[in-house]
Symmetry: D3
Subunit: 249 residues, 6 copies
């Protein structure tokens, strides 16, 4: 009874495979991972504008996943684009690493901070924390706020900057847990964890994608999914300009 | 110096003209109203799914409006679909009647309630109140929860049901102001207001579209618009599958 | 159908005319402005003590205004002295620039800050934000905290200090909108706005008196006023020591 | 070292003596009570309008009290009119039974409710709970909402109505403590307490005036008073129309 | 690499085996479950008094578990007695089904309700929701409030009562998810889920112990545990009257 | 009618007598103080672990006190260990100086800060503020964070460090009142108060034990105690490993 979890990467670029990021989890659970991108949408997600462009594609991919017998889908972005819409559209669990990561981080400390790249996404994540109901546990959202190009091929600098902001979160904002604020921080969580430990602040560092996968597997095992009272199926109606797959089952 | 305000109705059906709903406001302000619908999107808005389908169209229409020299745009739906994305995309004021109506209602009483049609949109509006920062002033969101078809050609029943829920809001939920919870309740606000007065509860009743128009005109007159620090322009990037107009100015 | 808006300046000094501060608004709306001061009360408003001394005078002026056919009154002080009492006393809209400015600022960004003169009024404004229901959107109240005499004839210094605190609000407190925290900052809002733009932080700057005027005009146009359920007329009773005008209409 | 506590009854009617209400407390503490009314102000306090009219008189009486060597003053009204202003004006402790009662009630249960006479004062007390910082502990404010004349000479009816609302608070609103919501409920607290006990709900019932007295005595004994950082003395300035006594010491 | 999860049942009675309650989870994960009770403490947990009596035993059992190479421990009670103390005492993950269940329930709907047995534990669970940071998502805590003896051998009545309160939570309190409020409700969650579905309200029903197990397994797989910054090891010091095991590793 | 107040010091070390700390209060009230320690428990209280170890002893001492005719008990620790359990166990008032101090501090300023020794207790006190319902008034909890040994015989250093953190609280965190965060700070409150006054920040400084004593005396005088609805007596049941005294009356 191998379970199937699908990663929906909500953009259109030749995306890095996120399956590498999940390496080792299959030592614990009997699961097959797959990843899809979008045919329509933005090249990357950095704004509410990008969120809006990706949401329709995410919904379509979620419906396809359920039609193909996938057991749970994960939206591969901390902004959780299309989360509510996809939860209405399908009955299998739909998880956003933003929501899942925040709740798991909340349980592991008195307060947690999110460290991310861009200043502009901070209010988006803060607003999400309000909706998810964990704002009292959110110490801060801290951006490293340097150009993506400067860190693209410079993992050392990235870790240095993340460590710097994480330490500020731990020492100034009263955080005791760090949640990585971008699912595109690949292969970083253990290194950041080690850096914080070396600095004398051994805070848990949550990798949002891996955390979402284990939470999804938990829900599958428990036979649970999002409430259809909270996210009832959308009423059938005419749609122009988009071809949304039909839910078969 | 006539000002131009555009109503973006975020769906694709042969929509009722909302310009009638604005009748009389031009006695007060020197403004030209126009209304556009969407080429792509759902036939109506009743869910997060519908919101997702309409957001891209709303953004496009907002960009077109700014290119045409419009002074402010209003998204014609209490769910404010595409509001954040459109505010990033343009520099003219973009208003959602949900946000504007809630803030204005908050100023007119100790607490306000929203009366709307469908039970399923209540948590969406409650979540918006959290983001807009007025949840402490929101007494309740109350649906009349009857089939749209039953009220489509039965204004008497609609007003009866809205009156019933409004009176419950005023007597049980501690509301002292009523905000109509759907911009499709046409020609209703004064009748509901009169019904409440007759019942001994003379609460202000806010028509969300008219309220948004006057707020938009206020912003235009004050030379104000949404903060570009809060909603910075999206980074230029490749987009697949959508043709978003370019902002000219 | 020219509308009449009255500014009630809640102190007794030979006050600066605030009508100059409203210059240009009559290009947008067909309105006559008038301003009155108080016969009884303090020479200026800087404390809860001053508020208490001015409230009775504000109420009297509000009743007179309604008796004279004025369409809306605005209390010319960010502390909104007498606001609740005046709203009970009359049925025309009574606006406080504190309340109105905070709600409008809340709509224009993720968070807003108030920049004001004296440290001692900060908790008063913070408390008002709680009552008005916008405390989650209030990033900070920041005083420039220099002696009034030092800035009285030194607009350059005033703007320099306001710019300094505004930039701290924008960079450290996560504000994206600035609300001027004193209706006595005359002719300042545009200059502060320009200074912030020059510094690379183009936040909207709200002039509280002008914002209140446009909001008042909006309410008039919409036929709305504060809820008489929230602020019911005071029961008639004997009053000693004050001569409060009788409401005629 | 007998201490002196003064009750400032913030209206002008030939008031009932509240000293009877304090009977027996002098068995516990070595204190002399005195009571004063106002020369100027309303005949009774039932609204924000009445609050505004009484505040100046309260401040004057507080200054006189300090000049006379009184150790603490208590404003004899649950609406705490003039509390902030009087705290600025004097350095001896100024207590409002609304604030004191709410904090003491908060300590005696998980949540408390206030039972009062008039529906119209409920939002005023709810707003005060926000400012005092105890709103999370406030289960409800419940009015008995019958005409004052009906209960004036009918203590039996008054207790019956208070019992009814208190039981609703205890069974429906999750309150476990009752705070009487009017300092004019004379000689009632023990009878209400007995009635609740008889009904099987032995909740503590707080008499706000007696509670304020014991809290005031506690502060005197501890050498504490309100913070002059929070309520700094008002700047000296010209005042027209009121004769406020000068603080001597 | 079989993982070991231990259930610490925090009382001293010949307890029902909870391992039956976990039946089937080992189809999903490679784990060995064990259960221990307490040598010292109360016969059951129904109050803060019982919590206090059980906490020391819980801590001791947690230390023993880590010494025995257990990978995670779960405190078998919705009141999470000893949770903070045990987290300080050991470095393996310590989970309380109250905390875990509330966070997972929060993710599956807009709001959730807890249905439990006794009225007296409701404020305890409400207080925990505040500490865990999910109070905004907690619709209500509803007791069935009948004597334990009446349901002990009457599962039909228990399910009937739980269904009744769950339906009230779903229809009156705006919950869309139900969390069972007692880990002693054995074999009930699926039956309650079916009953709700039959009643037309197909809300997810969370079994708190099973949910805690899957969350614990997720943490183990992710290499995560509670933050030692939030719960630092207790300083070594003399203890009288208790024999607390020493942590070996 | 001398009243009897008992201080329960919740640890086992040859504790310093706290009766000296209460010196002078008997000039104001007719009361006999007594102090007891614990037979079982930790040598001092610095963690949730220590809290858990002391709670049972606190409960036993509270029951003994009531049996001996004591009028009120005070738990001699800012962490209020065993507070809820003891309130269930007895009917005389049980006070925690953490809870009492926070509520009294809340009444004396707009916000208050707690200054304490160890960083690790800050989240514990912050959590308590949430439960007590005063978190909106809590400006900060600030540790001096130096080794206890360094200050044990160095009162000058202790006061210097407390002054430093108090001034930061007053100038940076918007506190206007200081609450000492440890009942083991003996003979310090007046010196800290003087130091703050010298520094130009004359904030009230609350000694938590003295404040609790006066509040307890107030409750005794008013005939009040904690609600038995909120803290109902624990059901009688078998207890293993602890000998809890029986409540006689």
């Amino acid at each position: 009874m191998t379970k199937k979890i699908r990663i929906i990467t909500p953009h259109t670029t030749p995306r890095p495979t996120k399956l590498d990021e999940l390496a080792g989890l299959d030592n614990f659970i009997d699961v097959t991972f797959s990843q899809v991108g979008l045919d329509t949408g933005p090249a990357s997600i950095e704004s509410a504008f990008d969120d809006a462009l990706s949401a329709v594609g995410v919904v379509s991919r979620a419906i396809e996943a359920q039609n193909e017998g996938i057991d749970a889908v994960i939206i591969d972005c901390m902004g959780d684009p299309g989360l509510d819409a996809a939860r209405e559209a399908v009955s299998i669990p739909v998880l956003g690493p933003g929501e899942t990561g925040m709740h798991m981080a909340a349980m592991l400390g008195h307060k947690f901070s999110v460290v991310t790249i861009l200043d502009r996404v901070c209010p988006i994540l803060e607003n999400h924390a309000k909706i998810y109901g964990v704002q009292d546990k959110l110490a801060s959202v801290r951006p490293i706020d340097i150009a993506v190009n400067d860190i693209a091929h410079n993992e050392t600098l990235l870790i240095e900057k993340l460590t710097e902001q994480s330490l500020l979160a731990l020492t100034q904002d009263k955080a005791s847990v760090i949640l990585l604020g971008c699912t595109g921080f690949l292969g970083i969580s253990e290194k950041l964890s080690a850096a914080l430990q070396d600095a004398g602040y051994p805070a848990p560092v949550l990798n949002p994608l891996r955390t979402a996968v284990m939470t999804a597997f938990g829900l599958i095992s428990l036979g649970l999914t999002q409430s259809s009272i909270a996210w009832p199926p959308p009423s059938p109606k005419a749609i122009k300009g988009f071809t949304i797959p039909k839910l078969v089952s």
